[in-house]
């Protein structure tokens, strides 16, 4: 069953916590991965791969650069999840 918006944000929060060590409660839709959450370009790849597995979605490298905020990623996953 497809994940809801809330489930995706919560899932991304867990992933960011696991990879960058940021408290999950700090991961909110308006937060920028790079500027607010200390997720650099390489960690972002790890976040994306973890999100792909968790939400059954493919996020090609060309699309990764457009995912600036948690909201961007959430909307992308909502639209593309299997």
């Amino acid at each position: 069953m497809a994940a809801t918006q809330e489930e995706i944000v919560a899932g991304l929060a867990e992933i960011v916590n696991e990879i960058a060590g940021i408290p999950a409660e700090d991961v909110k839709p308006e937060k920028s991965f790079t500027d607010d959450l200390d997720v650099d370009s390489l960690s972002m790849v790890e976040v994306v791969v973890a999100a792909e597995e968790r939400f059954d979605v493919k996020i090609p490298d060309d699309d990764v650069k457009n995912l600036k905020t948690v909201r961007d990623a959430t909307e992308y996953i909502l639209k593309h999840q299997g």
Binding site: D40, S41, L42, M44, V45, E46, V48, V49, D61, V64
Partner: protein, 344 residues
Amino acid sequence: MTAKIKPPQGSPYARIIGVGGYRPTRIVPNEEILKHIDSSDEWIRSRSGIATRHWASPEETVAEMTLEAAGKAIADAGISAGEIGGVIMATVSHFKQTPAIATEIAHRIGAGRAAAFDVNAGCAGFGYGLTLAKGMIADGSARHVLVVGAERLSDLTDLTDRSTAFLFGDGAGAVVVGPADEPGIGPSVWGSEGDKADVISQTIPWDGFRVGDLAQLPVGENGELKFPALRQEGQTVFRWAVFEMAKVAQQALDAAGITAQDLDVFIPHQANMRIIDSMVKTLKLPEHVTVARDVESTGNTSAASIPLAMERLLATGQAKSGDTALIIGFGAGLAYAATVVTLP
């Protein structure tokens, strides 16, 4: 008529019997790189784990570095150079393509008329050479083979490219492969993904200068023509290296009939500490496995990185002769090669 050809008379098994390395004398700290790019020591360390690298002087050519490393490897193997029947040079940074530099090396080490040739498989070159050496020994075409990875990547570095200026280093690593009573080099899991050829490449071909439309050639701030350099798409390389190569590494363990629990040492191509750390995590390597982290002080030396890291682990006592090691090289091509070896 089809005449019956005699089956191979070589040794069915081979192993690495000696290793040697050469690192250029000059050590270049991140501070020196920062003269050319807007970055910081902290940024470089956090993105790559690199603190210093060695850059060759004009006298430390690919050939001279190779001769130093090869001499040590042959001494370590306890054989004479005359017993070497094959010399394989993996390099992308020896700029005189003809003749193959391996022939000069064979001659200068005293390997007489050894079969000698160069291999270009980017950062996977050492693994390709090792696989070929094993085949030559099994075939009986050579009894001992010298396999070298040697690079002067400082010559192919664009000092103004802030994503790669700090990455590359110079050096040479060599091993001698010889016959063995039991398998000391497992099956290679190797291949290439030419659909990703543009992900890591030289900025312009050498003949770009000859036939080139000047407007197509890269120019610096002052309009000067820029020498070809290596460039890469960092995120794409990172994803491929960590997640696809972790699968290849697992296949190499499977092909050797062992599990990660049986490993003593993991020697991945020293591309970037972040790739190494993520691979270790993805592969779920047990705590007891020693991981080569030579990139911190040597940078990324492409085909030279695995034998250099192997030599240092043995020299510092972090690994010992007889240990079981998983090696994996991956890079431009995108080409890769992974295998399990017994350390010399």
